[in-house]
Subunit: 275 residues, 3 copies
């Protein structure tokens, strides 16, 4: 792992972020999700609410061919089984051939050895457009640190920024590190999004669905770093709005779907906090 | 595919539809669901709210024997894997022997080749009581058109009516085609239900759960076309009621469960729009 | 099966139950769940709302090693497949070696033969800290009665108390029998918790999530019977609070997550009904 090259903190304009939301909705991208049994429903509902079109095609027979039809692909390692892992290999190969952008969410990588190897194998097949994880997962994916205990992170996003930049350079990808402030980098540029609410950590799939939304935005954006930033902004600003109206994590999740569906691009522009 | 025989548009009385809801609740049918990982929870909750009893028995060892105990069976092709497909074959064979009505929901058939073959294989084993799909899926199941991109439909229900009638005649079954106006036919009769709300397309499993509800009604009704009509009416009228109270697709899904549970048969009679 | 030894009905103090909730939240136990595709999301959200940390690690490669890291393990037989059953065997063996408490939820045992054998095999490997089921499942697990039709129970908790006590003695475990009044026993002591709402039976996973919560409490408590009692009290008192505010089973499930998250230990103490 080489030392990070000189890094420039960039601040996309809020207006540019708002335009990405409008563009994503206008395109209504078909997002193929290979994800886990815990969050599949939530992920599909988040995509539908935001204006994308989910398709959970995750078997070895169909997932490769479908990647050529889909606008973007999500590979989430939450509950791998032999058959879904075979499908993941097929989808990554097919996405690479077809030029379909794919997002890797390395859930639980580090502490869990089988999926750590799966993630390495997938990265060796083809570079994803985006990698999204919590700090522990990003550190583990880079061979640094032992990873968290399951999906929980034991590090902060700030701890993982240097490693994230190296990882982004190594694979020619964008790396998004979740946290109270989300950190996103393509290896030379760094963006921080400071929206969001702690209740996102009390809804299962709170992070996983953001990976799917990044895939949706990556389908339309020319700049994957801007795509990841706009997805993060859309999701966390909608979370901010939802949190104002609710009494706990149950009603928060419901309100988050409502606010994703009704989020006006201008409201996104007004409320997003980019650093 | 032969040309449709002469078709008679029928209008079941609203009263007959209301009686079906009362009868279904009185029976509380045990509905065995072999469905996908995305909508399994939503489907079970819809059945429970409406007054039926779900049992997601979907492994090859148990699904056949259970079909003899269940009152109805749903086979939904949303996320097939080798093992669940083996279970589907077992359940269809056993349902045919036991005389248990089964419903086929051919999710994604057409664009996705493996499941298109699976659907054909299942139909060759035994005729379902009902087939429920969107227009693209119904066209594809009949060998017409290439199918949609995943679960999304690219055609309207009207486009698929003639094909649906032929398909119904061919298999001696009822075919329900979803849309802004739902079209249901047994090959000689045609019913249209004009209730429902666009938010049903923004909740994952919005259609899949209706397939399960059709199975619940088919367990008690003598006339499968009336069963499918009553299930569609119950679900879409409950959706109409739910949509009046809510702010978006998240709260809509929650309210739909509430309104399914509290739906009075008389309210169903008053609000259903049959054409 | 020997006749029950003399049984003493005990009443834990409400204060002791409240202390368990505080202790569980302070520890935020990592609960590994091998559960079914229908309730995985709901189970994870219940654990998160209550203050525990879920990890759905259910593949044969990782589930054993993870049991040594987890604070407690749930094995739920809802939708077994070959691969998850292999993972269940691995996790039970590893939990026994590591001293990690595990909970067995024998969903559908009795009427469904394959999983009845799976449950016996798991019990032969190592004794769980807790067994949680409905009366039909507990009777079937003891070789008494034919079991229910799927997850539904056809018996009352009272019917199953003697059998539950024998089962607890036989395996040196705690057995919790769900019902309008929950009955919990370690073979010599019996506790009854009289909170809860019928809508818990109208939310899929209403019982399954309680099994996971029992695992969370078992991770911190010295007395597994007290752990099971505190978990039941927490869940059913939160259900009581939720039911006061809502219009049906959909909004009830949402409010239950909210009330689990906001439940004050003192409120638990004030409202729990122990008999």
């Amino acid at each position: 792992m080489s030392a990070p090259r000189s890094v420039h903190a960039v601040r996309f304009s809020a207006a540019a972020v708002g335009e990405q939301l409008t563009a994503m909705r206008g395109h209504a991208p078909l997002v193929q999700c290979l994800t886990n049994i815990v969050v599949a429903q939530w992920t599909a509902n988040v995509l539908l609410a935001a204006g994308a079109s989910p398709a959970m095609v995750d078997n070895p027979e169909e997932s490769g061919p479908f990647a050529a039809v889909a606008d973007a692909v999500l590979v989430n390692l939450g509950t791998p089984q032999e058959e879904t892992v075979a499908a993941m290999h097929g989808v990554v190969r097919a996405a690479a051939v077809a030029g379909t952008p794919w997002v890797l969410d390395p859930v639980g990588v580090g502490g869990l050895l089988w999926r750590t190897r799966i993630a390495s194998d997938l990265l060796a097949l083809a570079a994803p457009a985006l990698i999204r994880g919590n700090p522990s997962e990003i550190l583990a994916l880079s061979g640094v640190g032992g990873g968290g205990r399951g999906p929980e992170s034991v590090d902060t996003a700030e701890d993982a920024v240097d490693v994230a930049m190296s990882l982004a350079q190594q694979h020619g990808t964008v790396v998004a590190v979740s946290g109270a402030v989300d950190h996103l980098t393509d290896g030379t540029r760094l963006v921080r999004v400071a929206n969001g609410h702690p209740w996102l950590t009390k809804v299962t799939g709170g992070g996983c669905a953001l990976g799917a939304l990044m895939a949706a935005f990556a389908a339309t954006a020319d700049d994957p770093l801007l795509a990841a930033t706009a997805a993060t902004a859309t999701y966390t600003v909608a979370a901010d709005i939802a949190a104002e109206r609710v009494a706990g994590p149950g009603s928060f999740a419901v309100a988050l779907l409502d606010s994703l569906a009704s989020l006006d691009p201008q409201e996104l522009v007004d409320r997003v906090v980019l650093r």
